[in-house]
């Protein structure tokens, strides 16, 4: 397994790739310490491991996927309320996928384009420190040719909330480079969540805790009102209960796992493949999807129906996207012990990323 740059884009090579791998390895080490810290005083050890150090060959792939549309905005009596709320604020797009929409300038009810990304800000922080030229080049290619490095920095550091990634007025510019509108959508948080969730857990009566809601309440590794956090944690936990230790597969990242076109009605004899493009990431590691009707077709995205509803919000498409994190599971020399629910992430002085 190769730990290339996110999405296997090929843009990281040589020393830059090595530097990225070092960054990922550091995240894994942090995860390992988070896992150890979770059980400090009870058990020594971690069942979250650093594959970049241990280099275990015999591993099983564990794909964990969930719906991109936020749970908090789902299941409302009128789904339009949820779609509208999710489109209006990147902060509510909390399932490791963020998007912007571009509306027709004459008729704002008409959707022209929707851009989805699962790229984490961690990578762009890395680029700012290690290859700012590449950073600017990516922005110029995918967002706007007018981007300058100064636009992306604040106080000498890279800013997720720069005007090209997060102008603050969603839809006004339709600009997005990566996630970060919701501050929990980071790679580091995903690693730490997984690490905290590795511990088999028991309640006060010694009964195993396996359910999504119960486990996240016990280990407190994220927000229970999300599709992602409880499910990722429960799946990781199950792997460890089955005698494994876990890490992340390379290339490390969050990806669009699949798109469900079963309920799409696309006019003009067009096919689903005609209305979207993967603009970052390879077929197996899709990171950036852009939905738009072919130029010259005479149609807009709002001429496409999903479930009988014309597309008026990016959220309608988000409901049909599945986001994935790919874990790996290796046989563990010893079974992870179960610990009670008094484990609280204590930290160890550094400012660490969390999903809470």
């Amino acid at each position: 397994m190769e730990y290339n740059g996110p999405g296997n884009t090929g843009e990281l090579t040589g020393p830059l790739l090595t530097a990225w791998q070092d960054t990922v390895s550091a995240m894994f080490e942090t995860g390992r310490r988070v896992a150890e810290d979770e059980a400090r005083g009870q058990v020594n050890g971690s069942w979250f491991y650093n594959q970049l150090v241990e280099r275990i060959d015999d591993v099983a792939i564990a794909d964990i996927s969930w719906t991109a549309f936020p749970k908090r905005q789902s299941n409302l009596p009128n789904p339009v309320d949820g779609w509208r709320a999710a489109d209006m604020r990147r902060a509510v797009q909390e399932e490791y996928c963020e998007w912007v929409v571009i509306r027709d300038q004459v008729n704002p009810n008409v959707l022209r384009k929707a851009i989805f990304t699962t790229e984490a800000p961690d990578y762009y922080d890395f680029l700012a420190s290690n290859d700012p030229d590449l950073l600017v080049a990516l922005y110029r290619k995918h967002v706007n040719p007018a981007v300058e490095l100064d636009d992306l920095m604040q106080g000498g550091s890279y800013s997720d909330f720069n005007k090209w990634n997060h102008p603050g007025v969603n839809g006004a510019d339709g600009t997005i480079m990566h996630m970060g509108g919701n501050t929990a959508n980071t790679l580091g948080a995903a690693v730490n969540l997984s690490a905290q969730a590795t511990w088999p857990s028991i309640d006060g009566n010694g009964n195993p805790i396996t359910g999504e809601q119960e486990l996240i309440a016990c280990r407190r590794f994220g927000d229970r009102v999300r599709h992602s956090d409880p499910f990722i944690g429960a799946q990781i936990n199950q792997l460890v209960r089955s005698g494994k230790k876990v890490s992340f597969a390379g290339p490390v990242g969050l990806y669009v796992d699949s798109m469900d076109f079963a309920d799409f009605d696309i006019p003009g004899g067009l096919n689903p493949q005609d209305i979207f493009s993967v603009t970052r990431g390879d077929d197996e590691h899709m990171m950036r999807l852009e939905f738009e009707m072919p130029s010259g077709s005479g149609f807009s995205l709002s001429d496409v129906e999903i479930g009988g509803e014309p597309i008026a919000f990016g959220g309608q498409i988000a409901e049909k996207l599945r986001i994935r994190v790919r874990g790996i599971a290796a046989d563990s020399d010893e079974q992870a012990p179960s610990i009670p629910c008094d484990g609280r992430f204590r930290g160890f002085g550094a400012v660490l990323q969390s999903r809470g």
Binding site: K71, N75, P77, P79, E212, A234, R241, A262, G307, G308
Partner: protein, 542 residues
Amino acid sequence: MIFWGGVAVDVQFPSRQGLFSDRTTHETLGLSPPAAGVDQSDALLFSTVIGIDTEPRPMDSSEINGLGDAFTKRFLLKGIVPLTLRDLLEGIDALDGDEVLPDRRVFLVAEGGRHRLSNPAFPLNARLVFTWSPAFSRPVLFLSTVPSLDDQTALLQLVAWSESDTTFHFFERREGRWTWAGNSMTAFDDRARGKGPFDSHINGGLVMKELKAPWAHWHSQSSSIPFELLDGTDFGKHPAMSAIDGAELLENLVKAGVRHWTRSRIAKRTQNNQIALPRELAQHLTHATSANLVGATVSYPPPQGEEFTLPASFFLDVDTFRAVDKRLGVTTSILPTIAIEVSPEDYLGAIGELDIGVVAANGTRVPGDTTFCFVVPERAFEDVTVVDRMLRDELLSARLALCILMVDFSNPVRSPQREALLRHFPQAQVALSAATLDAPFLASVQANAGAPIEDEFLSYWNDPDIVGRARSELASFSGAVSQLASTSPGVVEIVRLAEARRNLFRKRKLNEFSSTTARAAEDVGFWRMTKTGEIVPDDNFS
């Protein structure tokens, strides 16, 4: 009772379990055994349409070819007869060219689920559902089975889409042979309605009871079914069964299939500029031909100190109201912002007071609720979809649909009052026109003015501001229910009402397993909700 073609049909359909269990004989199916001396060994497919076929009837290649479905075209017509799950999995994997089905999904449902973790005596009832789709398209094959790769007697039920006749076809492998139980249109044949697969596929389409979040009993992103529970099965012994997809994806696939079939069905019923069998379509507005199950998205027991929201569709037919809402041309929805919240303490108190528990068929009882709180019946997606399509095709007006929905709106699933209005829709075919069904319906209702239900309808229809009135009444109702749910006694009443509605749901053959819903230890009787949010005894069903 439901009305079909003017004839009352008892909802006590033959048992689906009995028809499709492993050891069912022809006699149990209601079929005569094959005639002695007739060699049927060469037949690739047998017609066993319950209510029409009196014995398994061998189908010749011409008849099989006429089905045009995704299963017979890929297998039986090529002389390939898969008898096991392994045969099917590998046969589909081997398809190539135009027949390839590259997108396979596998889903797991198990009513025993988490209860079995703490109580090994609780039956798991694990079933798998596979779907296969062409690239970027809807599934054309749906398989219901169990995690047993090589058992030639294990459940294998297939639903296959036919692009030739734009229906689903229903198959089952039984006793070493494949049987054809009819297609979607068979569901509406008087002789076969409610029989065989159509006791639950009532309208000839796809069925997933727990269609919405939290997809109770299914492996999903809301609640995974621990793989430990599948020890002893063949799960994990084949690449196709090494991982399970979430039910949230199956929801999308089933809904897409239901919409597609509904569009086909209504097109068939509106050929030649006529609506054939208007009541067949209109009953989806007045009746609950089927039902789905929905629940709160919190697991049981609910976390302390945090109020949680009960599903709105238990209190109002929000989905059908929304279908109407979209076509009323209003800028403000008629639906209120409805969020009925209860405290976990009150909910637990109600569970305890009514002695709610989950009971398995073997009598094992686990006190408390199912995996998720408040799993209750709601209007079936297939009913809502037909109404939505009728509105879209202007077979009736949004105003008419709204006025019918407002009759006894506080009882969204089953309402004898709304059901009584079906008789005012014409039985015979009607020529298509703008809002075709409005005029004959209204004429019939007006001829019966003075009767309570008809007068209730007319009070809405004749209101010049029906939209404003509906918006106001629904908002007041929502407020009253919220108030009720804010008190401990009120929550007890709501849970009692839920149990009463679950009792009605359990009479449907769709309710396969005892543990699908929680139940009170004692019969709670029949209850209904008034438009002012009060819960009172229901004389309709006593």
